[in-house]
Symmetry: none
Subunit: 210 residues, 4 copies
């Protein structure tokens, strides 16, 4: 009789949403934001153009959410490490290392898109993401300083710089990894780089902790 929103239907709705994001992700990974027109995304998701607008108010919102989706897990992981019981330096090193590992292993392409042009609204999302990521690092650095284990630097500046170093070093166009370097070695180097940068004491030990 009456229409009922069954589980099956719910599942289809969720599927569509996911399908749209997935399609967008694939297209962006392949051809950048440039190629992510709404019609193309819809087609890739096997849906009509208008349907996309049932799930996202605008193209910009879709792309912004895509970005957040891609990065959310990374921030989560780093946050978990930041909240662990280890020593400041160990936590910081771990966070850098894990972030680097994931970036190199996983969505190298998606990360590259962090640097790619897009609509202003998408940039806002990017901004937010970086700010969040930097925030996690800033807190770790702050605690390191308070514990007397890091150099007395502006935690925000240091965090921004660390994030910049990570993104640029790992996934930017300069990334040595892209030119065939050994990932493990890159990770070791970048962890050491960041530890030194914040003036972490007992660097050797810390790195050994990994």
């Amino acid at each position: 009789m009456a229409y009922r929103r069954t589980e099956k239907i719910e599942a289809r709705l969720a599927d569509n949403r996911a399908a749209i994001l997935k399609a967008a992700r694939r297209i962006v990974a392949d051809g950048g934001f440039q190629e992510a027109q709404v019609a193309a995304v819809a087609a890739a998701a096997g849906l009509a153009t208008g349907t996309v607008y049932r799930y996202f108010p605008s193209k910009a919102d879709l792309l912004a959410e895509l970005l957040r989706m891609i990065c959310a897990r990374e921030i989560e992981v780093v946050t978990a490490i930041a909240e662990s019981e280890a020593s400041p330096a160990a936590r910081f090193a771990d966070a850098v290392r894990v972030f680097a590992e994931r970036a190199l292993r996983g969505s190298r392409l998606a990360y590259a898109n962090i640097f790619e042009p897009a609509a202003p609204e998408v940039d806002d999302a990017r901004f937010e993401i970086r700010r969040e990521l930097a925030g996690v690092f800033a807190r770790m650095i702050e605690e390191g300083i308070r514990a007397g284990r890091f150099a007395r630097i502006d935690p925000n500046l240091a965090a921004a710089s660390v994030v910049g170093a990570l993104l640029e070093g790992l996934v930017g166009p300069l990334a040595p990894g892209r030119r065939g370097r050994d990932d493990a070695r890159v990770i070791l180097d970048i962890v050491a780089f960041c530890l030194r940068a914040v003036g972490a004491k007992e660097e050797g030990n810390v790195v050994a902790l990994r």
Copy 2:
């Protein structure tokens, strides 16, 4: 009567070219790449739209060249320092400091616009520029390592990370300086950050050298 490209004509040609680049620069600095339409640039340069195409094969080429123009001086300055006679650490510190000073002093906005993602056609140029800049730092780091004054790290990775740290820390959206911090202090911090990052010995002295 054969056409002769006189000096006068040459001069006018050069003038127009420069005017176009200058106009583009102003527009990009003010409103980002978004507002740098060919017609707008032409108008700002006091020329007709079509004339732009006498000097640049396409909008992308124009913007790419604009980017190179803006950065050429920075790279030049850093290169000069890199080729000076000072000690590796001093040279490196100087390069970082001067770069930071110029970035903070010069139109921070223009920098932000240049380094923020903005236009797909320009990405290649951007990457090229960063690569070049990183190259200069890589050479300095390499020499520092060879001289036994820096930690033994991959110079390319370190250079990329330094560039990332500088850009993100100074002109990126997270830059503390953008939130009203004292520039001199930011510069001191970032120099120290980079020196530590590359494992420069006698850091204190080096910084004192400035």
Copy 3:
């Protein structure tokens, strides 16, 4: 088991139909035809979009019926006056006055929205309504002429003009009433205007009759 359209079901059907019209009326009154999308009307009626199509073959039909519904009462009232026993001039004056009163009192906004141009599909209905309203006035004028109390003019032209004067004067964009004038005074004026226009004799008396 054969389907039986019970009274209960009939009632529900009528309810839904009424609910849709009511919702449409509210939306049109608030935001004009512009905002009367089928989905919006359905939502406001607490029904699903598709359900609207159970009761109206198309959006145009819905709006046309809405218009008729809104105006039916007005036409009814005017018709009742037209069929009363009073003298031609008195009837005419009364019809004008009552119409004006109702127009000014009743949601002026709704009226304005109804008479303002808004949706091509609805024009036919609008025309029909105006024609009907004019028809009632035409008959009154005709009788006034036949009784020798009105000037000998084309009743249809006069009726159309009277309707035009009423709508424009009372609810149109030029309506002085909309600019804060006293309603009672406006009504007096417009009745006098129309009486004079049709050449009603003993105008003073007629107006006094009210």
Copy 4:
């Protein structure tokens, strides 16, 4: 050598603008605003879609200007009469008569479009036009009252009503003229209607003046 905006070019520009308006006029006259899509208008004018935007900032502006263009002449004519030296009643009668003549003779279709739905911005133009037209009549009525030749009524209300009567009676959907009546007779009737409506004295003479 250099491009020069010759007379020929100026003429072409003016031609294009005119061609666009003309094409729009034809399309609107034939199929109403509904069919006046930018692409259709451009095609009918023998131009590319984008070209329309060189001459009009938006579709709404184009249509609004079209409306103004269509009505400007009428208002001009009526204004000229309003400023003539004749007696108030004669001027008023003349204004009504000429307006009616032109409306019936000329662009009956275009006038009809005064009643047609359109974008909100176009409605504004319509509003403006009616206001202007009513303004001219209001001034005439005011002077008639001041000269003691018209009934003492609110000039604005009367003017609005006169405009309403004219538009509805002559070009509106109810207009008897549209149904094959003799134009000359219609004009006589409506002039008489309006003169009576404003309570003009010596009506006979005035009408005889025509």
